[in-house]
Amino acid sequence: MYAQMIKTAGTGVKSPEEMTEEERRFQARVDANEKIEPKDWMPEDYRKTLIRQIGQHAHSEIVGQLPEGNWITRAPTLERKAILLAKVQDEAGHGLYLYCAAETLGVSRDELTEQLLSGKMKYSSIFNYPTLTWADMGAVGWLVDGAAIMNQVPLQRTSFGPYSRAMIRICKEESFHQRQGYDIMMKMAQGTPAQKKMAQDALNRFWYPSLMMFGPSDKDSVHSAQSMAWKIKMNTNDELRQKFVDQTVPQADYLGLTVPDDHLTWNEERGHYDFSEPDWSEFYDVLKGNGPCNVDRLTARREAWAEGQWVRDAMLAHARKKAATKVAAE
């Protein structure tokens, strides 16, 4: 999940009696699975929460380019390089789809960027982990994109039209990402003993951070209930995490790799795997900025923004000059 710990604005779910006439009509439309469009009336808290959620999702796509960008120049073959380049370019595209969905809610692109760079808005905790070997490119595609898909598929049905449409586009492209990751893992797992070891090591390092992507258990959260009533959150974090584990364990078995969890067992009664929770103190620590790569990631984004300033200014100045010349000639 690329949006974690989104604080839902407002005071929790209101009963129909507590709602204003406008709020009742809005909720009825959401309940009837009608899409809410940017110019429609919406509660201010719905708007605020969506800006936070879509914004964080967009930032994650953009920052998510960095761990993989690390390996573009070192991909083992030209074909792998071209594939990775295409994947990273997709992540940029996904960020742009989401930014433009957020902008329909009345926030500007520059405001969103500034809030990312100042640390006011977050991106997914997963991108604060380093990518140490080529096998990490496999693990990221397989596990990280796999976890993202778990969250994004149901979000295609979200109540806000522009967000839903962005999700539909993203999901169409995301499955390429997961499959190219698994393809790398297959190659490594079936390779030399050293390559297989590298694949196992990547799984060991990315397993728990991937489980953290879904966020902590939210069964007791009032805020989460409101987001679910608004249909901007479609499943609980625990539901999605369980689904991810159930789907991923057999895939690891196929690779001949071991999921790094001694307590992982199939629970016949529940029809699900039982598994160990990640270390949540690590999760909160990474969110606070103390992960292995938090500083590197934000520094890279800040430098890119600052160093690109003259290019953005020059292009705009050129466009204005050209427009002025055209007007003068008419």
Binding site: E37, K39, D40, W41, A86, Q89, D90, G93, L96, Y97, C100, E103, S108, R109, D110, R165, A166, R169, E173, R312, D313, M315, L316, H318, A319, K322, A323
Partner: protein, 94 residues
């Protein structure tokens, strides 16, 4: 002067002789760059054969609150649909 690149709405004609369809928006300094950016953002998988871009501020849109006055009048004009008329089977295909 505000230095954010203006917002452009992007319309793409798909492969199949369809009309241009709105696909999303992006920022660009001018129309030429907007088309180039639209190519990169919205047609990475052969989604189009033609691109239109228009600066978002030039689009006029109807308001959701006008929904009633704008569209309700057509609801009562069922005779605009061919199924309104009962034509005997003997007449044949029509």
């Amino acid at each position: 002067m505000k230095n954010e690149w203006p917002l452009w709405e992007v319309f793409i004609r798909g492969q199949h002789g369809m009309s241009h369809r709105h696909v999303g928006s992006l920022h660009a300094p001018d129309a030429e760059m907007a088309i180039k950016n639209a190519r990169d953002v919205y047609t990475r998988r052969n989604e189009g054969v033609s691109i239109w871009v228009v600066e978002a501020r030039h689009i006029a849109a109807s308001s959701p609150s006008d929904k009633g006055p704008l569209y309700e009048p057509s609801e009562s004009k069922v005779y605009r649909h061919p199924t309104f008329f009962d034509i005997p089977e003997d007449v044949g295909a029509m």
